[in-house]
């Protein structure tokens, strides 16, 4: 999604009408409800919805947590486009000529109530692609005395895809997910490509075989809406095309992962600068020993 960095410096219309799509799960009734909200400069759609909840109608239900575009829980459809409510300035979506903001729950996710959607299926698909590094030698993961070698270029090849916050906006925008529940969706497949391309992961063959079905990248038709709505610039559309051409090459016996990162034992170097006294290990305290007598920390001495 492209952001207007200056939107927060503009003053939105003084009073904005919020049209909110409501859903009552006890009766199955759906309706649009209007609220008038007095705005201020820098007000986001989430701020406005919370103001409505506090001052006008506390029955309205939504999900949010961080209020700063990090947790990915406040996704909703604002003026027809999937966005994060906390990252959407009212000044960006409402104009003096049309001071109306429509808010709907995300599409493609079942609605629990009002703006609250159920992400169970979404996360099941996320789980299906095994979103973690897999190494053949399981035990080496348990020892912390080494790192996997990786160049900065290799890192930037996958860095973009690691930024996903699982907000589900891409999944909500996808026209393929709109018509079939089987497609894994942009988020899961972007994750899959991130691990196929990550030199630290060894399971690329298993991964490619896992998605070699109609749930995988072959169901994508490159509408690229996922990349157009992603608030973190993850570019799932490109990840899926990379995955698809890798899979095609693999089927023709022409794909091989270029590099598997090898173990590099790290020398633990002493800190060149001596630590200040308050950061020195307390004599007698061993953090690795549990169920030990609590050590007596000489607080008075340290403060003095």
């Amino acid at each position: 999604m492209s952001f207007d960095p200056k939107a927060a410096t503009r003053t939105p219309p003084k009073v904005v009408t919020f049209k909110v799509k409501r859903y009552d799960p006890t009766t199955g009734k759906e309706w649009w409800q209007e609220y008038k909200v007095e705005t201020y400069r820098g007000m986001t759609v989430l701020d406005a919805l919370l103001k409505i909840k506090e001052e006008i109608d506390h029955t309205i239900v939504l999900r949010y947590s961080c209020r700063m575009g990090v947790c990915g829980s406040c996704g909703m459809i604002i003026n027809g486009m999937p966005r994060l409510a906390c990252q959407t300035q009212i000044a960006e979506v409402a104009t003096e000529a049309n001071p109306v903001v429509t808010v709907e729950p995300l599409k493609n996710h079942p609605v629990v109530r009002d703006l609250l959607t159920d992400f169970t299926r979404f996360f099941e698909k996320h789980k299906k692609v095994k979103p973690y590094t897999i190494r053949k030698d399981i035990e080496e993961r348990e020892k912390g005395d080494f790192e996997y070698e990786m160049t900065p270029e290799e890192h930037y090849n996958i860095y973009e895809y690691t930024l996903c916050i699982s907000c589900g906006l891409c999944y909500s925008a996808c026209p393929v997910v709109a018509s079939t529940d089987r497609f894994l969706g942009p988020q899961a497949l972007a994750y899959m490509w991130r691990y196929v391309a990550d030199p630290r992961d060894e399971a690329w063959k298993e991964r490619l075989e896992l998605i070699d079905t109609d749930e995988g990248p072959f169901s994508c038709h490159y509408a690229a809406s996922c990349s157009a709505v992603c608030p973190k610039m993850v570019d799932p559309a490109a990840a899926i095309q990379r995955l698809r051409s890798a899979l095609l090459k693999y089927r023709l016996g022409m794909y091989k992962k270029e590099k598997i990162a090898q173990k590099k034992v790290v020398e633990v170097k002493p800190n060149p600068k001596p630590l200040p006294p308050e950061a020195q290990p307390v004599p007698g305290a061993d953090p690795w020993k549990k169920n030990e007598e609590p050590v007596n920390i000489p607080i008075d001495e340290l403060i003095a």
Binding site: P82, K107, H109, Y156, S179, M233, D235
Partner: protein, 154 residues
Amino acid sequence: MVEKLKEKENRPGWIASINPWVLKIKNNPERVAFVLHRITGLLMALIIMAHIYVTGTPARVGWDAWAEEIAKAHGISAVTLYFFFFAGIAWYHGLNGIRLLLVEFFGVCIGKPEKPKPPYISPSLKACQRKLLYLVFILWAILWAATGYILFAS
């Protein structure tokens, strides 16, 4: 009392693949291209069946009657209009099909992963597939107009 709660399915369904404005997503002409590609693909599949039926006409009415009918297909007639309509569909599907083959099967023209920076536009939306898309639209207009010229003016 425990109330029985019903979750509501909220998937737009197949309408999302024939109406690009089910959602009003900005900076996304690829979605319009996808919808047009699907519609033209399906129409071509229908037209090919009609085409097979029509090319069987000489067997039913004889070559002379067929040639007589074809000789009338000048200027604006049902036959030339049908060909004009078909040409529009086929040019778009073929041109955009080449773009899609490059993007989807060869994985080219989708840019390189980059470090995010404002205004946060995904690399694939700035890459040469977008320029190819505009080229497809321009060539489509030119070739369709040229086909119309050949059909109606000659």
